[in-house]
Amino acid sequence: MAEEVGEHVKLIELFRKELEGRFLGYEYDPKKRALKLLVERSALSNAFELINRVSDGEYHFTTITGADLDGDDIELTYFLWLLPQRLRVVIKASTPKEDPRVQSIVNVTPAANLYEREVYEMLGVRFEGHPKLEKLFLPEDWPENVHPLRRD
């Protein structure tokens, strides 16, 4: 167990060192062995480069949840599983509803492709640098700028 405890500490230190002020905090749940990392939206792409580096590409990208929680922001939650570390990592970032833009991570993590498209159509978050940011589930004649999971 001691070794496993070390893995999440190492990751926190790496994030703190590399992202500096753009790393906003963390939370570790020892029961679920899940590490939650909060980052600035401008640091998302860097965060995934770090994940790529520590796991040597051996990580499974689970999904992205986008949530409009009645505030001024849209919260994005990225779930991953690091194979060598055997660690559940949850990366969180948020973007203001006024200007919902974040960096796409598809160039680092191809598995995020469809999930970014889903968050885009459901909540209107634009993923900059996505190769093909189009609708995924909604019908072709669905009006532009209507995002079904937005509260406003």
Partner: protein, 387 residues
């Protein structure tokens, strides 16, 4: 050279996720694949925020008929995580039993469907006969064959009785013997091997990069199984083997399921033997006791399934509910495994993902040059290339 687009779908009854694929083909070889999903997007995530937690469970188990237990299990675990509720130990064991029975019937279903698709109807009949026995056992334990609402927040709906335990053991004992026989057939029959081996190749690197889950990932040598990595329910106390095949093709993905069926039978037997006594449910608050979020990841029959829920203190409905199902995660991998293969391999490769085909699948062949459009159903396409 004439380029032809082959359109599979859109009424492509994969579980709850029908897909349409447009295949760009050069002669018999698939060059590129473009998926288009969402034809029966039902807005369940939105609907769940308009129902109470308990009402929502009945909708959640209808996300997918086949792995309904996987969905309710993930949902109750996610909500318990948000509420800070711990179910009793006996409930965890019972959840594991029903969850694995669900996996056994689901895997048998897929193995049967594959046999039928490749023209081995006898084996299809035999396997589905055995699946029916599992369905009867599920009905006996939960009260219904399919949507049984067995898992509830805080535990399970009903207890198991002694005669049911012995009945499950008897049925599973017979099925284990038969699955061992089927394993021999799948592993050694030259026709099955000739049809499945090498079809729908998915390299380990691609499976990992594209986020493949479940038997699709494990058939490509990726050792991920949520039950082993992040044990939930009773999996921290019940040992089992993670089945991994290195062949990276349709055959490997099926063999993973054959072996997993045997593992699941062992897990159920182990759970029944070690079943702790005590209550099967704890009382739960009607409204969210705190503003929180919870998530639960489990290994559904088709792979990693995640539910993510946000709650607000005093609210009886979730603030946001998110579900990511395994077939959704496997779509990029499906596209990858079809590239470079033959049109004839499309049905075999797709079925090896276990997206639950039904007889209404339709395929349209469009000749881009002349605009001519030919529609045939997927079964006819499969039949054309049988043997």
């Amino acid at each position: 050279m004439t380029t032809v687009n082959v359109i599979v779908g859109p009424v492509h009854p994969a579980l709850h996720e029908p897909e349409r694929f447009v295949f760009k083909v050069d002669g018999e070889v698939v060059v590129d694949v473009e998926p288009r999903i969402g034809y029966v997007h039902r807005g369940i995530e939105k609907a769940l925020t308009e129902r109470t937690f308990t009402q929502g469970l009945y909708l959640i188990e209808r996300i997918c008929g086949i792995c309904n237990v996987a969905h309710t299990l993930t949902a109750v675990q996610a909500i318990e995580d948000a509420f800070g509720v711990e179910p009793p130990k006996r409930a965890k064991y019972l959840r594991t039993v029903v969850h694995e029975l669900n996996r056994i019937h689901s895997h048998l279903l897929l193995l049967g469907v594959t046999c039928e698709l490749i023209g081995f109807d006898t084996l299809f009949m035999l396997i589905w006969r055995d699946r029916e026995a599992v369905m009867d056992v599920i009905e006996m334990v939960t009260g219904n064959r399919v949507t049984s609402a067995y898992n509830i927040i805080g535990g399970v709906r009903r207890n198991i009785r002694d005669h049911e335990v012995s009945e499950i053991k008897k049925v599973l004992g017979t099925i284990a013997e038969r699955v061992k026989e089927y394993k021999k057939v799948f592993a050694e029959d030259p026709t099955i091997r000739a049809r499945l081996a090498g079809a729908g190749r998915l390299s380990r690197a691609k499976a990992l990069a594209l986020g493949a889950v479940g038997p699709t990932a494990r058939g490509s040598g990726v050792k991920v199984d949520v039950r082993a990595e992040e044990p939930y329910a009773a999996f921290d106390e019940v040992p089992f083997n993670v089945v991994v095949y290195e062949e990276e093709d349709s055959w490997a993905r099926l063999m993973v399921r054959v072996d997993e069926t045997l593992e699941s039978i062992r897990i159920v037997e182990e759970c029944l033997n070690k079943m702790p006594s005590g209550p099967v449910k704890v009382p739960i608050p009607e409204v969210a006791p705190r503003s929180s979020e919870g998530f639960s990841v489990i290994e559904a029959p088709r792979g990693e399934l995640i539910h993510h829920v946000y709650t607000r203190e005093g609210d009886d409905k979730p603030l946001r509910y998110r579900v990511r199902t395994p077939t959704y995660a496997n779509i990029p991998s499906a596209c990858e495994m079809l590239k470079g293969g033959y049109i004839a391999d499309i049905p075999v490769a797709l079925v090896s993902l276990d997206p639950c085909f039904s007889c209404t699948d339709r395929v349209a062949l469009v000749d881009v040059g002349t605009g001519k459009r030919v529609s045939i159903d997927l079964r006819t396409l499969a039949r054309r290339y049988k043997k």
